[in-house]
């Protein structure tokens, strides 16, 4: 059976035997970095293609279908076009911050990749405060967005950036509280512990209605944090042209565009990990045969499948719901999501103490 864990241990053992201690370690670090960048590039291409196809089918269209079979190379062609375009820096812009901002956004997205478990025992860094790390680093992205908006020296960009900051800071709260519900139930911040606590059933099944509410709140918060419709006020095309990245072109624009999709992937990966059991296969109580068949599917496929399902859900939101006004956006967070998730957290705590969960 294919497993990423075996592949990694084979490579590690081979490097250890040929290069010795310090060099094997350095080579592994470089390989991880290259793999992360390659993953980002592939994710960007695939998710943009998926988004365009999903959008088209929801609007009774066909979507890209000319470049390559079923339009598969459309995103590659688009990327090539962006690479060949001039990366313009406006005259009145703060040049240093303007050029730094896209990299800030990308780096913030890259950092969150560290504690995500892609398969069984296949994780870059199984840090003991994994969930806290994710919550902390995901709020760094807002600095990049603010930087981009401010340094562009453009009213639209600044407005978009301010809106984005207000939005991300507010929605971080309910995202954090809904993650906390699972932290209480599993009793650990470590990602691998959270996944292992779901071996006999995913939290969304074990945790009854309170965890389902937490899951819904989390999905709403992730949609808002990634600045996607119906929360795309930061780049609201009809009001702010393109929001914080109005002035960007060429590869710098591509980095913002890529970061949006990477953030979606990471948000959905976190959601899949803490609510849907990460790489844990789907098991039903005592059905030995069924459980065995589920175990046969590689853990990486389980993880990717769950993540893609959540990504599809978020795309479904984008192509169905109308955009919120800025006051409605903040009302939703402070008057609805936050009180609901606070009460929900209390119920989850009670549930964990009394042992009501399965």
């Amino acid at each position: 059976m294919f497993s990423l864990e075996k592949l990694v241990s084979i490579i590690q053992a081979w490097l250890q035997s040929t290069l010795g201690d310090p060099w094997a370690y350095i080579v592994v670090c470089v390989m991880v970095g290259v793999a992360a960048i390659a993953l980002f590039a592939i994710l960007g291409l695939m998710l943009v293609y998926m988004e365009r196809k999903v959008a088209a089918h929801m609007q009774i269209r066909l979507g890209p279908n000319r470049v390559g079979p079923m339009g598969l190379f459309q995103t590659t062609a688009d990327t090539l076009k962006l690479v060949m375009k001039e990366g313009l820096t406006p005259d009145g812009a703060d040049k240093f911050l303007f050029n730094l901002a896209p990299f800030m956004v990308m780096i913030a997205a890259m950092l969150i990749l560290a504690p995500i478990a892609f398969a069984k025992n296949f994780q870059i860094w199984d840090i003991s405060i994994g969930v806290l790390y994710v919550a902390a680093v995901s709020s760094v992205a807002v600095i990049g967005i603010l930087m981009a908006g401010w340094s562009s020296n453009n009213k639209y960009s600044l407005l978009g950036a301010m809106r984005s900051a207000a939005q991300i800071v507010s929605y971080e709260l309910s995202a954090g509280l809904s993650i906390l519900a699972i932290v209480i139930l599993s009793g650990s911040l470590k990602i691998s512990d959270i996944i292992n606590s779901q071996a006999d059933g995913w939290w969304i099944i074990k945790g009854h209605i309170p965890v389902i509410i937490a899951f819904i709140v989390f999905i709403i918060a992730v949609t808002a944090e990634t600045n996607r419709a119906p929360f795309d006020l930061a780049e609201a095309e009809s009001e702010l042209t393109a929001g914080f990245h109005t002035e960007y072109s060429g590869m710098k624009f591509a980095l913002f565009f890529l970061a949006e999709y990477i953030n979606i992937f990471i948000g959905c990966a976190i959601g899949a990990t803490i609510f849907l059991g990460g790489w844990m296969p789907f098991h039903i109580g005592n059905w030995e045969a069924f459980n065995h068949v589920m175990d046969f599917i590689p853990s990486s496929i389980w993880f990717i499948g769950k993540t893609v399902f959540l990504i599809f859900l978020i795309m479904w939101f984008r192509w169905t719901f109308p955009r919120l006004r800025v006051d409605q956006l903040l009302n939703l967070e402070w008057k609805y999501l936050l009180p609901i998730s606070m009460v929900n957290l209390l119920i989850v705590t009670l549930m964990a103490i009394m042992g009501w969960h399965l």
């Binding site: 929801m58 009774i60 269209r61 066909l62 479904w316 169905t320 609805y336």
Partner: protein, 167 residues
């Protein structure tokens, strides 16, 4: 409005709060059901894949002006220039000549019927002005060419003459 809100009892407020939550979720789910239906039912797709399948055009679609000729290479144009006068932007230019018919009489006839497609706005006024129904609008719409001189067309075919009985 603020006054009314203070008059409301606590219970009423809570009821309204949860009612809003319920209404929001149910209306969002209604929307998602529709888009989900479209996503799973590919037969609903209305995109026409143009070069492979030609679009079904209405008969009254106006693509360009043509002059129909019958099988003996005859048209119905008398050269009265009514269409040239009716055209708002000089798309049509008719050059006439004098022809001697079988009875030895002089008669006006068209030499060339010049039609500039690049100027035409497909307004249909020339077709309406024509007293003898010599020109009609066709459905052809693939007019792109590499040289704009090719857009200046002569509508009467070489060697054609006016149909018998058209005055």
């Amino acid at each position: 409005m603020a006054f009314i809100r203070t008059q409301r009892s606590e219970k009423m407020f809570l009821k309204e709060y949860f009612k809003t939550v319920y209404q929001t979720i149910s209306s969002l789910l209604t929307g998602m059901r529709l888009t989900g239906y479209y996503f799973t039912h590919t037969k609903e797709i209305i995109t026409q894949q143009y070069p492979e399948t030609k679009p079904a055009l209405a008969e009254r679609f106006r693509g360009e002006v043509i002059m129909p000729h019958n099988e003996t290479n005859e048209h119905r144009c008398t050269g009265c220039t009514a269409c040239e006068l009716a055209c708002p932007n000089g798309t049509i230019k008719i050059v006439t000549k004098n022809e001697i018919n079988a009875e030895g009489k002089k008669k006006k006839a068209i030499d060339t019927f010049v039609y500039r497609l690049e100027l035409c706005t497909m307004c249909n006024l020339c077709v309406q002005a024509c007293p003898s129904d010599a020109i009609i609008m066709s459905n052809a719409f693939e007019h792109s060419v590499y040289d704009r001189r090719l857009l200046t067309k002569v509508l009467n075919k070489p060697g054609s003459k006016i149909m018998e009985g058209v005055e």
